[in-house]
């Protein structure tokens, strides 16, 4: 059976084509990820400092598309309209943030993050214009005095005590009674003490400097396509970057272990006799080793580098292939063309690589495809136990974090489901391809 036959009968196999389709999607997703999402965000995955602006355990944003009540979206407003008024005595900077608030619930806390360069003692004012045109003065505070030009950065939280006091004094601006004493609930309240939807405007005014840069973070309960975890990380980034990493691990381990198993088995089978016997005993030893415990011992005692783990997975992966390819080689070496090559005086290595291995190649391809999912699940399992490489976060590590934060018992489904589904989909793609390849190359399974 040659390769054009395999190709044409593979094309007729629907399941195989589905597998190829899924795999193509995963590869496209990996390419898009690698080109769009900066590698830096991925490398900072385990650095809590780089995720402080995101919400804690926020659900994915598409929850709002399917549920009736809209949950507040986490918004990070970075580019405000800035007006600079240079007066003769002092300059004023005004920054305006427009927020269209249409959630059915009150937002989480909000915070203003600002940087300024100044000398003297500038005054910073925050006010807010509500959709019903009521203007509330939230805060008026002076930045610390400095004689020289200085750089200052700080955060103002909505839980700030002076904001609460200021709002309390302005309750008579409302035409109706406000019951809450909480800043965010006063700012966003309507006459029933529910949420007033519409356009809000946050106005930041600074007297006495011409340089301020601010960022307004309006805390919410939904964020991004995959939500965030307890450590405020954007799960979409982890899931997307996990794809190329998982494909890399799976494919490299599968190719490495199948190729080495193939060469080992064919050599043993072709040589026969004592060589065969001793090589197969080595095979027995590795077969009897409890693989998962040994993988764990190895990664605990050596290092948790992902490349080492790939190597260890290969060590335990080649055994089965070696057994099968040995028995195949035993059959093939009795064929006439091998005898012919021998009588022509060809070297053993040439006979093995030119005449025997090409015959087993279709089987090898099928086993490569079939062993990819095992490699991916084993890596995911090790990472799940907390033995993963922290520099390359994987789906298993996301699940490990989910488990250690009790995500299942707390109902944080968006933290548990997607990584597992990704593992399963990737596995399925290769299982589909492998099974249909096997049934095309193995006449016994063809019906």
């Amino acid at each position: 059976m040659d390769y054009t036959d395999i190709k044409s009968s593979f094309r007729k196999n629907k399941i195989g084509l589905v597998g190829i389709g899924i795999l193509a999607c995963l590869i496209i997703a990996s390419i898009i990820t690698a080109s769009i999402i900066p590698v830096d965000t991925y490398q900072q995955w385990n650095n809590p400092a780089s995720w402080t602006e995101l919400p804690k355990s926020a659900q994915p944003i598409w929850i709002n598309w399917i549920s009736e009540k809209k949950m507040p979206e986490h918004q990070i407003l970075e580019a405000p309209q800035t007006i600079l008024k240079k007066g003769s005595s002092e300059s004023i900077v005004i920054q305006r943030f427009q927020v269209n608030y249409d959630s059915d619930y009150f937002p989480g806390e909000f915070l203003l993050n600002y940087k300024s360069t100044y000398s003297g003692s500038p005054v910073l004012q925050i006010s807010i214009v509500r959709p019903d045109n009521i203007t509330l003065e939230l805060l008026s505070s002076s930045l610390p005095y400095s004689e020289q030009k200085t750089y200052y950065t700080d955060k103002i939280f909505s839980t700030n005590e002076s904001i609460r006091k200021n709002l309390k004094l302005q309750l008579d601006k409302f035409p109706y009674q406000i019951e809450s004493t909480n800043a965010k609930e006063i700012i966003f309240a309507d006459k029933n003490n529910q949420v007033l939807k519409g356009n809000y405007e946050f106005i930041i005014t600074v007297h006495g400097t011409d340089m301020i840069d601010s960022k307004l973070i309006l805390g919410g309960k939904v964020f991004g396509l995959a939500g965030t975890d307890e450590l405020r990380r954007d799960l979409a980034i982890g899931l997307l970057w996990g794809t190329p990493v998982a494909l890399f691990i799976g494919v490299i381990v599968a190719i490495g272990s199948v190729v080495s198993g193939l060469v080992f088995g064919v050599y043993a089978g072709y040589k026969g006799g004592r060589t065969d016997e001793s090589m197969m005993r080595l095979n027995d030893v590795i077969y009897a080793l409890p693989a998962l415990p040994f993988l764990i011992i190895l990664s605990v005692t050596t290092s948790n580098s992902i490349f080492l783990m790939i190597g260890f997975l290969m060590i335990f992966g080649w055994v089965g292939v070696a057994k099968v390819s040995r028995s195949m080689a035993l059959q093939i070496k009795t064929r006439q063309f091998v005898d012919a090559a021998k009588t022509m005086g060809q070297k053993d290595s040439k006979i093995i690589f030119r005449h025997i291995i090409p015959q087993i190649m279709p089987y090898a391809l099928a086993s490569i495809a079939i062993s990819v999912p095992a490699a991916i699940t084993t890596e995911a399992g090790l990472s799940f136990l907390g033995l993963g490489d922290p520099t390359y976060p994987t789906w298993g590590q996301i699940l490990h974090d989910a488990k250690s934060h009790g995500a299942a018992a707390r109902g944080l489904w968006w933290w548990i489901m997607p990584p597992g589904i990704m593992i399963a989909i990737t596995g399925l793609a290769f299982v589909f391809i492998g099974n249909s390849l096997e049934s095309t190359v193995n006449p016994k399974l063809r019906r």
Partner: protein, 350 residues
């Protein structure tokens, strides 16, 4: 080669494999073991000096005291045989000999629930729990799997067959532990039917303990069976598919023997040898528990013991558990060899 010789040879090979596994484990963890033991001795000596002021007052200078401490550490290390490097043939030989006579020594950190530090006690305490959960699950899986597989294998291409095969392929790509997490989410959080942790909270002496244990076991057992039986059914189906095409089945069909009797009588009996082999291997494999599944369900069996031992680097426990598991695995290979010879006459007659 006669049958007896064949088995004798197999037994020798398997024993060699066992020794090789043991040697490999010792080689892997040996260097760490020494470092940890030496640290332990140093802490012990210092603690004794702090407790016993008389020793301290007997020394003129701190140098003398330090000299005394290092002497003490050296003496105790010699008693434990730590003066030789861990890779010296003497020590490795001694370690292997001790394990062969089932003297596993004492653990460094872990203890059994009753407080014993003997590795043998710890393993004996965890093993029954693992058998209770995983071996039970394996038995259920194999019964369902053989039944479903035999039915779908008897009629390839039928609806049952298609459903079984696709279920087998799909379920095998899901990691069991992930499905476990989902099950906890669904049945312990969403519908609070089962407890999330698989360990009962009441003490073992309580009369309701067995009931509580069974109740806590339900979720993990359902999970393991659900994910596991598809693969079994698929394997049995493939064995059956070959046998159902044999002539003797056609003959039985034509002389009008009932379908059920053909499937479960003749066909399944002929498919028995490979099935028994797989059964033996998976039963022995189940004794090791499943490190990751036990971690998910918080089941206090062998898998969790293993994981705890590895994270704490409690080396006597690691070595002891590896040895016990490998022994079980090799014995089951040997037993399945024996059974194969018994069930398949072609091997008996050589």
């Amino acid at each position: 080669m006669g049958l007896k010789q064949y088995f004798a040879k197999r037994a020798i090979i398997l024993f060699g494999v066992l020794m090789a596994t043991l040697l490999l484990t010792i080689l892997l963890v040996g260097s760490n073991m020494d470092a940890i033991l030496k640290k332990g001795i140093a802490i012990q000596v210092r603690a004794e000096i702090v407790e016993n002021k008389k020793i301290v007052s007997g020394f003129a200078s701190t140098d003398e005291l330090n000299q005394y401490i290092s002497d003490q550490i050296g003496k105790r290390a010699k008693v434990l045989g730590l003066d030789e490097p861990w890779y010296s043939p003497n020590r490795i030989g001694l370690a292997i000999y001790k394990i062969l006579i089932l003297d596993f020594g004492h653990s460094t950190f872990l203890t059994s629930d009753s407080g014993s530090t003997a590795v043998g006690d710890i393993i004996l305490e965890k093993l029954p729990r693992t058998i209770l959960l995983f071996t039970t699950a394996t038995v259920i899986i194999s019964i369902i799997g053989i039944f479903v597989g035999a039915i779908s294998g008897s009629k390839i291409g039928s609806k049952t067959d298609k459903i079984t095969s696709s279920f087998a392929i799909i379920s095998s790509s899901f990691p069991v532990w992930w499905v476990g997490l989902l099950m906890i989410f669904a049945f312990a959080f969403w519908y609070a039917i089962f407890p999330a942790r698989a360990t009962p909270t009441i003490p073992p002496t309580d009369p309701g303990y067995i009931g509580a244990l069974l109740y806590h076991m339900t979720l993990p057992i359902i999970t393991i069976v659900m994910i596991g039986f598809g693969t079994w059914a698929y394997l049995v189906r493939n064995f059956m598919a070959g046998i159902m095409q044999e002539d003797f089945i056609f003959v039985k069909k034509t002389i009008g023997i009932k379908r059920k009797k053909i499937i479960f009588g003749s066909a399944l009996r002929n498919a028995a040898p490979p099935i028994v082999t797989i059964l033996a291997l998976s039963l022995s494999g189940s004794l090791g528990g499943a490190i990751i599944t036990e971690a998910v369900f918080d089941w206090p069996g062998m898998g969790r013991l293993y994981f705890e031992a590895i994270t704490l680097m409690d080396l006597p426990v690691i070595i002891g558990a590896t040895y016990v598991l490998t022994v079980f695995f090799l014995v089951s290979i040997f037993v399945s060899d024996l059974l194969y010879g018994y069930l398949d006459p072609r091997i008996r007659t050589g």
